[in-house]
């Protein structure tokens, strides 16, 4: 299942907003099976920050585990956000 992250809005910044977006996914955009990956598609993202994405991923992983996968992107703000979420 592919999730269009840009569809959550033009400004994806705060932790509360990231958690809220993930709760919407858990309610309305559930994967069809227990094994289907959840792919995060950043191609339409305008502005995103690590706080939003970290909260979004953590909230999804609390239910779906490591099936949540970030697709590669060459959008600078997405690249920097994904880099900040990598372990040190």
């Amino acid at each position: 299942m592919k999730l269009d992250i840009g569809g959550f809005g033009p400004l994806l910044i705060s932790r509360p907003a990231g958690r809220d977006a993930a709760l919407v996914v858990r309610a309305y955009q559930r994967p069809a099976t227990d094994t289907e990956p959840i792919e995060l598609d950043f191609s339409r993202v305008q502005v995103i920050a690590p706080s939003w994405l970290d909260e979004f991923i953590q909230t999804l992983e609390s239910e779906f585990g490591k099936r949540v996968v970030s697709l590669p992107s060459n959008i600078p703000v997405v690249v920097e956000t994904l880099r900040a979420l990598q372990p040190d």
């Binding site: 400004l11 705060s14 502005v47 920050a49």
Partner: protein, 202 residues
């Protein structure tokens, strides 16, 4: 010698007044809620009309949201995030400030042995993946800020909290000197103040 634009210097005077009066001395520059900050941030892209606008907006969003993430119910003065910015091509400046508990207090209860001063607390906050909001697993926002600023491009960030101060970026000396002409360190005795300078490539 570098200098800040006249409009930003005027805003700095208002920031000082806001800090000392503990009142909303200039309400249009104070976001009293996260929603107000989120409503103002998109105007930066409209103002700049530049590919770097997304990175700048994300960076300011991270710093601005920290005001609320770590200070709700912990304000030492007026609640909210003081936010001003100016653009005079090719330079963009922004100031974010709060009257919150400051970075040292925010971290003290999670790492008491490591935090011995405002300066150590500030350096630790930008160097490590750590957050005062234990037990939540957080703390990558300032890492994001540091990695964007720390490059060979002409960018700089100053951050003051209590008696501590850290600076990053290729033009940090220039910005520190310019800022010091108009505001001394006491501007951040209560809470935190961050100052950004970003030169937009033509």
């Amino acid at each position: 010698m570098s200098s800040l634009p006249e409009t930003l210097r005027e805003d700095l005077q208002q920031l000082i007044a806001w800090r000392t009066s503990r009142q909303l001395s200039h309400t249009t520059l104070v976001c009293v809620s996260r929603d107000q900050l989120s409503a103002r941030l998109p105007r930066i892209a409209t103002l700049l009309q530049h590919p770097d606008a997304a990175l700048i907006t994300a960076l300011l969003g991270e710093i601005g949201n920290n005001c609320f993430d770590h200070n709700l119910g912990q304000w030492r003065g007026t609640a909210g995030c003081w936010f001003a910015y100016h653009f005079s091509a090719p330079h963009f400046w922004a100031i974010l400030a709060d009257q919150g508990q400051g970075i040292r207090n925010s971290l003290q209860h999670v790492l008491p042995k490591n935090i011995q001063s405002d300066q150590v607390a500030l350096e630790f906050a930008f160097d490590k993946r750590v957050s005062g909001r234990s037990p939540e697993q957080r703390g990558n926002g300032l890492k994001f800020v540091r990695q964007i600023i720390n490059c060979e491009k002409p960018r700089a960030l100053l951050c003051y909290s209590g008696a501590g101060m850290v600076s990053f970026g290729a033009v940090q000396a220039e910005l520190t000197e310019a800022y010091a002409q108009y505001a001394d360190r006491t501007i951040a005795i209560v809470g935190t103040t961050s100052v950004l300078q970003w030169e937009l490539p033509l």
